[in-house]
């Protein structure tokens, strides 16, 4: 019972290989000189160079970043307020609403995507608003990010000693001062974590972007999907490798930040 058997170790090793095979193969093939994929013909970094020459890909990268940054800013503010509001103030129908707010978390993303597509279409026909493009993508991303931020922030608020906020009031702080000087600094780690989660969700999203984007507003995932549909090319592998690198670094940073938080969180 104390030492895992060699069979278990082997099985686990195979699972790790299985999880990392797709990631490794993309990175390896991004250095393959062969033009149309296929067998290994030699090492090259040419495909990375090609990325810089492609205005289409640079624009998609810019769109992806703008989308992620702007939607994260909006959703972090709105989600933090929602998490705070739901845990501190009650209102009629609150239970129902706090359930409804989780719908974006559990609903299949394709259903969410077509619902939004249809909504924008109907509003456009009647009011002339919501021309599909970067703006509609931002609105859509904020919508599915809000509950994730709210969940993270709320779980932190629930664990807080109510006496701390009472102490602030007792010492003469009004509601706003208490929030700004005491509550917010204390939940800041959760706000940052929620924001990072929202940012990653936005970067990762393909389905919602695919349905709510318009002409000229490609993101990297949309671009990759389109290219894959035409046949995988080495420069897409190079692009994907860069995205993978960013994800790996981001994940490690997040895990380290979390670990550094722990000793202080217990006090």
């Amino acid at each position: 019972m104390k030492r895992p058997s060699w069979l278990l170790t082997l099985g686990v090793a195979l699972l790790y290989v299985f999880l990392y095979a797709p990631i490794v193969v993309v990175i390896v093939f991004s250095f393959n000189a062969a033009r149309y994929g296929g067998p290994w013909t030699g090492f090259t970094t040419a495909w990375y160079g090609r990325l810089l020459d492609s205005p289409e890909k640079l624009l998609a990268a810019r769109n992806t970043l703008v989308l992620a940054v702007v939607s994260t800013l909006f959703s972090t503010v709105l989600g933090t307020l929602l998490g705070f509001g739901l845990s501190r103030y009650r209102f009629p129908g609150q239970k129902l609403f706090s359930w409804l707010m989780y719908i974006p978390v559990v609903i299949p993303d394709i259903v969410m995507a077509v619902a939004m597509l249809m909504f924008y279409g109907l509003v456009r026909q009647t009011l002339g608003l919501f021309e599909l493009g970067l703006a509609t993508m931002i609105v859509s991303h904020v919508t599915f990010q809000i509950p994730f931020v709210a969940i993270v922030v709320r779980s932190r608020l629930v664990g807080m000693d109510p006496a701390i906020e009472e102490a602030a009031h007792d010492l003469g702080a009004n509601a706003w001062q208490t929030f700004r000087l005491v509550t917010l600094p204390m939940i800041l780690p959760a706000v940052v974590a929620g924001g990072m989660l929202a940012f990653t969700l936005s970067l990762d999203d393909f389905v919602v972007s695919f349905f709510t984007t318009g002409p000229g507003a490609n993101t990297l995932p949309i671009l990759i999907y389109a290219s894959v549909k035409r046949g995988i090319t080495p420069d897409i592998n190079a692009l994907s490798s860069l995205i993978i690198l960013a994800s790996v670094l981001g994940t490690i940073a997040m895990m380290l930040a979390e670990r550094r938080q722990e000793p202080r969180g217990t006090s």
Binding site: D161, A163, I164, E166, A167, A168, H169, D170, L171, G172, A173, N174, Q177, L181, V182, P185, M186, L188, R264, S267
Partner: protein, 373 residues
């Protein structure tokens, strides 16, 4: 807000009253935390709310501080009605049981918080913070975070953070509850000295009877949302009104009396299982009551050699002896019921009483007290 039929609440607010509470009730679901409580706390006194957990003492403190609202009744602080004043505008400050220090601020920033809220100039704040930290002897910890402090140090910060605002009343919610015994004793003395020096009214919540006796000018003993008795330490200890008070504070022998006859001036004769006992001017009126309870503290009993007879003298047998250094505790049996007696060990071997030994117990008439229930 005057409660008709409630004596005391009809009088105009006493200018010398720091806090006046009248007719407060508070219910949490089916639990009655406070039941029509009225109370006046004088300017500059060290007032303790004492009682077992769940008696409503913390609820009362929180309502005075504005951290909870009563279902009915009123609170006045310094003669001013508080019903529409929120916590952050009341002239009181609280020291919380969990300390409730702001974990992201340094000790100095914690202490400065109240003054910052009052928009006091930064230079003034720095000076007053330094003084407040000196006052509670933690000047050298000013730049530490709360997580780096011990429990006792945290409590000192909490105290400085509240006192720096010069509140009219300081509310302390079991502030020493989380500390170990030795530190608690030290801080008891310190708190007491500090209160005397500053002259600020302290309302101190505790479930520790010794703590309340040591520190307070007056004590309100609470049970089940009601105040059982208010008085200074001696009054509550020497003249408990009922069984609960007599038992909660220290130990007390209770003797059921089934009848009485008037004796001379201010005295009566009670029929008890120990025989007829003379009671001298003590406690609740017994006229017209079929049965009542007599109380006598264990240290008031006199242990005499066996065979002595006389007024209020009862033969007894020793069933257990507990030697605790300065005194000995004797578990006695008299008239088929247990009696507890304490005796000072004035000389070495003063009480060479073994279990099983016979003796006579004297219950002095002046120490017997009739209770209300």
């Amino acid at each position: 807000m005057a409660q008709p039929g409630e004596p005391g609440s009809l009088s105009s607010p006493d200018a010398r009253a720091a806090v006046e509470v009248s007719g407060l009730s508070r219910r949490f679901g089916s639990f009655q935390a406070l039941d029509n409580v009225s109370l006046t706390i004088r300017e500059g006194e060290f007032f303790s709310l004492l009682g077992p957990s769940g008696c409503g003492k913390t609820t009362l403190l929180r309502i005075i501080g504005g951290l909870d609202l009563a279902d009915s009744g009123s609170v006045a602080i310094g003669g001013e009605a508080m019903e529409r004043i929120p916590a952050h505008r009341r002239p009181v400050n609280t020291v919380f049981q969990s300390y409730a220090l702001f974990p992201h601020m340094t000790v100095a920033e914690n202490v400065a918080f109240g003054l910052r809220m009052k928009k006091i100039a930064a230079a003034d704040i720095a000076e007053r913070v330094a003084r407040a930290l000196e006052m509670v002897q933690i000047g050298s910890f000013a730049s530490r975070k709360p997580a780096q402090l011990s429990g006792g140090q945290k409590q000192r910060v909490a105290l400085a953070r509240a006192l720096i605002n010069e509140p009219r009343v300081l509310l302390l919610d079991e502030p020493l509850g989380a500390l170990d015994l030795k530190l608690r004793k030290e801080l008891q003395v310190e708190l007491h000295t500090l209160q005397r020096r500053l002259g600020i009214t302290f309302i101190f919540v505790t479930h520790d009877q010794e703590e309340a006796l040591v520190m307070s000018d007056r004590i309100a003993l609470m049970r089940a949302g009601q105040i059982e008795q208010i008085g200074d330490a001696e009054e509550i200890y020497e003249r408990p009104r009922n069984r609960f008070v007599s038992q909660f504070l220290g130990s007390c022998n209770l003797i059921e009396a089934r009848g009485w006859s008037p004796g001379g001036a201010g005295e009566s004769l009670a029929e008890t299982p120990l025989g007829t006992l003379r009671v001298e001017g003590g406690g609740a009126p017994t006229a017209g009551r079929e049965s009542f309870t007599l109380a006598i503290r264990p240290e008031k009993l006199r242990l005499l050699p066996a065979g002595e007879t006389g007024e209020n003298r009862v033969p007894a047998r020793v069933s257990q002896v507990i030697y605790i250094g300065s005194e000995s505790h004797f578990q006695l049996e008299a008239g088929g019921r247990p009696l507890l007696a304490y005796a000072m060990n004035e000389t070495r071997g003063a009480h060479e009483l073994e279990p099983g030994a016979s003796l006579t117990v004297h219950l002095p008439a002046a120490s017997l007290l009739a209770l209300e229930d």
